[in-house]
Point group: C2
């Protein structure tokens, strides 16, 4: 019985447009200090938990090369290609097949590739605790101590600790994104944690649970396991369902959460960049080259060799790429989606 890390790198996303594009999602962007990508940082953290040959990355077939470039140390065969992006349940099922084929008793840590963690030591400790509980046969998730009444995340309602493994608490319930008042209540109660999409289980256990709760997907995975050549034709027929919805929400009372305080961020908008990349002495958070005069508290991002020059502006987001430039106040950073919607409506695909 060995531990494996499965990094999910299939996501796309538009919240960091125009730097993120359909073909270059958030995990590939050089946002962290030293211009490290979220994917590279995630993989680096995991290499303290398992050796590199037991790190798998699942990604879209179209992004396999991008992943290999980002992680040159990763054995080439450890990049698992999804023929077509389905949601996380099929993706994790595919990864579980890959782990089980190499190690029938393998235990998996499933981690998103597009999150940042400031406290790596706390992260590694929490993951190791979760893996111990998973090795005991349980389904486990990591829950992030909330630091604000965030309405953009799902929450996990914690129950009492496990007797054998006091670091793990029983999951009472997964709850959807709350409204602001509810989120304030969650924060005050101390009983709710953010669901960060990190899961731990043995490959055999999660395939069992998929077979039980998502029998269609279970049959597809069984067929692929028996004849891997069928993956290209069968995988695209899998339902587009998240592991949260397809499995986890069916297991309340029967799974565990390890609470974690790890300096976590999902870098969910440009306004969050200062959480993961330290601002300079003027409070400007800079990626690339910038010249700021009488300018404070801005997020200034220039792709490639673009210089971003700002004079006399505060708390703005300015993102410059070779074919698109975005300017908005930090407090409206979520409105990037309005721009993306306008471009979609106008069928301006080259910019998406």
């Amino acid at each position: 019985m060995t531990n494996w890390v499965v990094i999910l790198a299939g996501g796309s996303g538009t919240r960091l447009w125009p730097l993120s594009r359909r073909r270059l999602p958030k995990q590939f962007l050089p946002l962290l200090p030293g211009d490290e990508t979220l994917l590279a940082a995630t993989a680096r953290r995991c290499s303290s938990i398992v050796p590199g040959e037991r790190v798998l990355v699942v990604t879209a077939a179209s992004q396999v090369e991008e992943v290999r470039r980002a992680l040159p140390w990763l054995p080439s065969e450890n990049v698992v290609a999804e023929p077509l992006a389905r949601n996380t349940a099929p993706c994790i099922g595919l990864a579980a097949l890959a782990v089980r084929a190499r190690d029938p008793d393998g235990v998996m840590a499933v981690l998103p590739s597009d999150q940042a963690v400031r406290d790596e030591r706390a992260f590694i400790a929490a993951v190791q605790q979760a893996l111990v509980t998973a090795a005991a046969g349980e389904v486990v998730t990591l829950g992030i101590h909330p630091t604000r009444p965030e309405t953009g995340f799902g929450y996990i309602h914690c129950g009492p600790p496990s007797e054998q493994q006091p670091w793990a608490r029983r999951v009472l319930r997964f709850v959807e994104k709350p409204d602001h008042a509810t989120a304030l209540g969650y924060l005050a109660s101390g009983e709710y944690l953010w669901n960060a999409g990190m899961f731990f289980f043995s490959a055999a256990r999660i395939l069992d649970e998929i077979g039980r709760h998502m029998p269609d997907l279970g049959r597809i995975l069984d067929t692929i396991a028996a004849d891997p050549a069928q993956v290209d034709s069968l995988y695209p027929t899998a339902p587009r369902i998240s592991i949260d919805y397809g499995v986890m929400e069916k297991l309340p009372g029967a799974m565990y959460v390890v609470p974690a305080d790890i300096g976590w961020s999902d870098v969910g908008s440009w306004a969050a960049l200062p959480e993961v990349r330290p601002p300079d002495s003027d409070g400007n958070t800079v990626v690339g080259e910038a010249i700021a005069i009488d300018a404070r508290g801005n997020v200034l991002v220039g792709d490639g060799r673009i210089v971003v020059a700002a004079v006399g502006v505060s708390d703005l987001v300015i993102i410059a790429t070779a074919d698109a430039v975005l300017v908005l106040p930090k407090e409206r950073a979520q409105d990037v989606k309005k721009i993306v919607e306008a471009l979609e409506a106008a069928r301006r695909d080259p910019y998406l």
Copy 2:
């Protein structure tokens, strides 16, 4: 005796950085409605005054091709190359040699290439009046009725009208850029006009005046006239002096100004763009492609195929090029020069 138009297209400038560069000054930018350049619009206006074969454009040797591209209808030999940029006195001297060689009695209208004129009919009428006065042997300038207490321009103090040509008034004095209080006084007096750098004289007369007031330059021009092959070696030794300083300011009481109300703008900063290019219904002035959501009163310029996306910002200047992006409030548009100075200090020549 025929009329000639000489367009001065040698200027460089940084006030419209990053769209304007050392190699692509303001007159070549597609700023006017229909993306016409200031140079093309100037030349087009002049073609109502003289036929195209009597329009000369003086420009830096390095920009001859750019001028020919911008004015495909202009006879190729009508582009006069300055071997090296000197100021306007040598440049106008060189143009006067070119005119005199073709027409010893030629009368010249000398016009900057980087100004905009909204009322073309009034412009043409004023130029024709000025040419009549110049043909009578006078040195003439156009003076713009001031519309604000501008401290960035020189002014012309007007005297009484000419008896023979009542449209022309005697020039009492050229005055340097005033302070704000002085400019307010000028505006209130009604006796001061903006010096827009437009001059009218016969080629013979201006060469005489150069010989009298700038004898060094006069000798250089005489030598070039006798042996045009020497222009490349001699012209760079000419003094860098403006025609205003070198000649015009020596002629008070002996020259005339034609007051003109022509919707004139020197497009001296990005904040002036709405003067020459009509804003859209949200008050945004757009060059290229822009998406503006809850955004009003901005100047949004995207070079080439760059889309500029702005959300929730007002009265900003946002200029996007493939390698540099500028963001500042309209009211600080003059501070572009601080950015340019910072780039110069950092020796970031590719951006200049």
